[in-house]
Symmetry: C2
Subunit: 205 residues, 2 copies
């Protein structure tokens, strides 16, 4: 049995940088984790890789779903009182942002987590281009992360391979949507599921 004061394993938070639902969850996931003495392991990946298996397309590329999703995101933003603006050229792949994250994570996981949150909120609040290494480096620099290291990392074949492998590992574990949360291996899909995640953290059933 664990001591009550002992921290549990990190919550895994899998997401695509262009996922509107991941944005709303990203605004809350760290508070959810902290309430249960957990930390968050941010796990960016590209939904496109999962879509190759499920045959799905992105919400913003699917008739009917696209219109509903935009209306729903704006409704969620009004309900929660948070900004929400789809950037021009949405959806971006976010591949440079994913690579920047895993590059930084190798040496400084806390800085990488801060960068992940900064990039997804920047995308949906300020039009930050998650496909532009210079924009990512600038956002990183605002967090005290070396922008030149970002620029070197996003072009590094080894970093690209790590980023791709991380996504493949997630998909191999069943991840096919964004956001996707694992709590001690238990999977939860969708920002709507945060209340269920909280209950699971209190007491799995």
């Amino acid at each position: 049995m664990k001591e009550p004061s002992q921290r549990g394993a990190p919550i895994e938070f899998w997401f695509d940088f262009a996922s509107g639902y991941a944005y709303f969850a990203a605004l809350e996931i760290e508070e959810v984790a902290a309430r249960h003495r957990r930390t968050v392991a941010w796990r960016p990946f590209t939904l496109g890789a999962a879509f190759k298996i499920t045959g799905a397309r992105g919400l913003s590329r699917t008739p009917l779903k696209r219109d509903y999703a935009r209306r729903d995101w704006e409704r969620l933003a009004r309900q929660r009182g948070v900004p929400f603006h789809l950037p021009e050229n949405h959806p971006r792949t976010g591949l440079p942002a994913i690579r920047a994250f895993y590059h930084i994570e190798r040496t400084d996981p806390l800085a990488a987590a801060a960068l992940a949150k900064r990039l997804i909120t920047g995308y949906f609040q300020d039009g930050l281009d998650t496909d532009d290494p210079a924009a990512i480096a600038s956002a990183a620099a605002s967090l005290g992360i070396d922008g030149d290291a970002i620029l070197a990392g996003v072009g590094d074949p080894e970093v690209k391979a790590i980023a791709r492998q991380q996504g493949e590992q997630g998909i191999a574990r069943g991840v096919f949507g964004s956001p996707w949360i694992f709590v001690d291996g238990e999977p939860f899909w969708g920002s709507d599921r945060l209340p269920m995640v909280e209950r699971w953290l209190e007491s799995p059933w």
Copy 2:
């Protein structure tokens, strides 16, 4: 301004008889409506028609999603303390069930609503075959609905046309998933959204 005692327009509840998430919502939707002095307009349709537009496949026919959905349905059933058993040969099309519903609704909407709830709960609790007119007629008879009328209705070309047109009208209004709820025209997709539906019923934002 409406008088507080005045009933609002019915909540529209669109669903596929083989949708696990619709089953969980079907167990709650009438109580949700009643708390806000509303009734429920049950609107069965076949998701297959929507999938032709969105390009999606049913959860139970999609790799990764299928496994997640089954785990999630069982988890929801345990959480809520309700039965849940996927019938053999899931997913059924439910076309005879849809036709039976719209046939009965022409003359007795309240009986049709009771039949809809009986058929979807029967499917997920007792293996009721929603593609078998005799099974549907038997379930209807248990509610005091004439079983012979059901058998005649499900084979009636006029009823088939009405059922198909109803589904087409839903899809034309943006319905692409199950369950799908309209509150005064505002769309909500998914059983997870019942709390948001309740808030909207209290006060739209």
